[in-house]
């Protein structure tokens, strides 16, 4: 079997349509338009009182579904792609692959419950791309810490959404998946420290890569501490996952930066359109 598979060669049937982050960033519509967003509401946090709440929740759930597929593929690949990593790390990756497979099944059922068909929304392959590094430490930083960290934020937001809407299945399922994600992040943090114990340069490079991925996942200001973001930063669960206060503050700063950039872009586009 081939090692180091690129995102473009992921196995998908005809129901799926994949796009890249470049495609998403190339959409010229962001920040333009005559219509305001959800009735000029100040908070953009995904809550049931948002007029577009059901559609946004369905879209996010589908994003979780394809994210789980890619996380499964990423963890499985890390098991297989390297001969020179500790066997215990392979076992942890195998355990994660098993968790992700279960999450895929849960997400399929939740999506059906919410009235969504498989493949109804485009699949962004950015998550798997973070798992394509030739260095396993980079994968741990990009996937287990950045991607699974984002999953903690997303699941916390969705669990709260289910709780507020009174949706018992959504709240319950997100809570259980959240518990697994906390473990995945912790595994990533532990292994990253162990594998780079005597190589501070490699550790610094991995953390820098994580920071880049964190910013990419915050693109458009989607995730931050601010209510202007759809997804909040789940500080408490990140603490439980082993992020230090400084690391959480750094992610908060990176996310705020992404939000500010998105607002500046929007303002510039509007100014340009009005000129």
């Amino acid at each position: 079997m081939r090692r180091h598979l690129p995102a473009s060669e992921l196995a998908r049937d005809e129901r799926f349509h994949t796009i890249t982050m470049r495609d998403r960033m190339a959409d010229p519509r962001a920040g333009r338009g005559r219509f305001e967003g959800d009735n000029g509401r100040r908070s953009n946090r995904l809550t049931p009182d948002l007029p577009s709440a059901s559609e946004a929740a369905r879209s996010m759930m589908h994003g979780i579904f394809v994210g789980e597929i890619q996380a499964l593929e990423g963890a499985g690949r890390t098991c297989f792609d390297f001969d020179d990593i500790p066997f215990a790390l392979k076992l942890d990756m195998a355990r994660q692959a098993w968790d992700e497979a279960r999450h895929v099944e849960i997400s399929v059922k939740l999506s059906a419950w919410m009235g969504t068909e498989i493949g109804q929304f485009a699949e962004n392959t950015v998550l798997f791309e973070a798992a394509c590094s030739a260095d396993p430490v980079m994968r741990l930083a990009g996937v287990n810490r950045a991607l699974e960290g984002l999953a903690i934020d997303v699941f916390t937001t969705m669990k709260a959404f289910g709780e507020l809407a009174g949706d018992p299945f959504l709240e319950f399922c997100e809570d259980w998946m959240l518990a697994d994600e906390v473990t995945h992040v912790k595994m990533g943090s532990d292994w990253l420290r162990r594998l780079t114990e005597s190589d501070p340069q490699r550790r610094a490079a991995a953390l820098e890569f994580q920071s880049v991925v964190d910013k990419l996942f915050s693109y458009g200001g989607t995730r931050s501490d601010s209510d202007e973001s759809m997804i909040g930063l789940a500080r408490r669960f990140r603490e439980l996952a082993g992020f230090t206060d400084d690391e959480i503050s750094h992610i908060a700063d990176v996310s705020d930066e992404a939000l500010s950039e998105a607002k500046a872009r929007k303002q510039a586009v509007r100014a340009g359109a009005g000129a």
């Binding site: 333009r32 219509f35 919410m114 485009a122 949706d167």
Partner: protein
């Protein structure tokens, strides 16, 4: 052709004005509105899905490009999305012209629950008119608005199946009045 679409050439999305016009023309026929003159103004600079109708002849419909978009392949046209999103507002407008909806507030005055319940009656009718819809999507929206209960599901089934709902039915579904 009774449907005119602007812009004639799209730059932000890969839509074709003639194709959109044909799809809306077909929709008008399915809804018994053949011959109605429509000016559909698509704001291609926004991915929002909002659709607004302005009375007049022609009937002016303003739509964000997201209302006509294929969510599987961003920035491409979806005939189904167009028929569902334009169809809902056309049916709501037609409902308003009858006495049964005389007491209904204008669109801006509708609560999210009322809008969800009204959408159920509209999309149910679109399904019977041959438009491809996914009923569970609308069931989920109604549950989000009035509760995840068996009673909500019973309300959904009733509203979905009826061709002659009244404002009283919508308001009752949302608990605003006692049936």
């Amino acid at each position: 052709m009774t449907v005119a679409v602007t812009p004639e050439v799209f730059r932000f999305v890969q839509y074709d004005a003639a194709e959109i016009a044909a799809v809306v023309e077909d929709l008008l026929g399915r809804l018994g509105l053949a011959g109605t003159r429509v000016a559909l103004d698509v704001d291609e600079t926004t991915p929002l899905t909002r659709v607004v109708v302005h009375e007049g002849d022609p009937l002016r419909i303003e739509a964000g490009s997201g209302a006509l978009e294929d969510t599987r392949v961003p920035r491409t046209f979806s005939p189904t999305a167009a028929q569902v999103n334009v169809g809902r507002v056309l049916l709501r407008r037609r409902d308003r012209s009858g006495a049964a909806f005389a007491a209904a507030p204008d669109d801006a005055g509708l609560s999210l629950a009322e809008l969800a319940a009204w959408d159920v009656t509209c999309v149910g009718r679109l399904a019977r008119a041959g438009v491809r819809v996914h009923a569970d999507r609308w069931r989920y929206n109604l549950r989000n608005r009035i509760g995840f209960t068996d009673a909500t599901d019973a309300v959904f089934d009733r509203l979905w199946a009826t061709d002659d709902a009244s404002w009283f039915d919508i308001a009752a579904a949302c608990g605003a009045v006692t049936p």
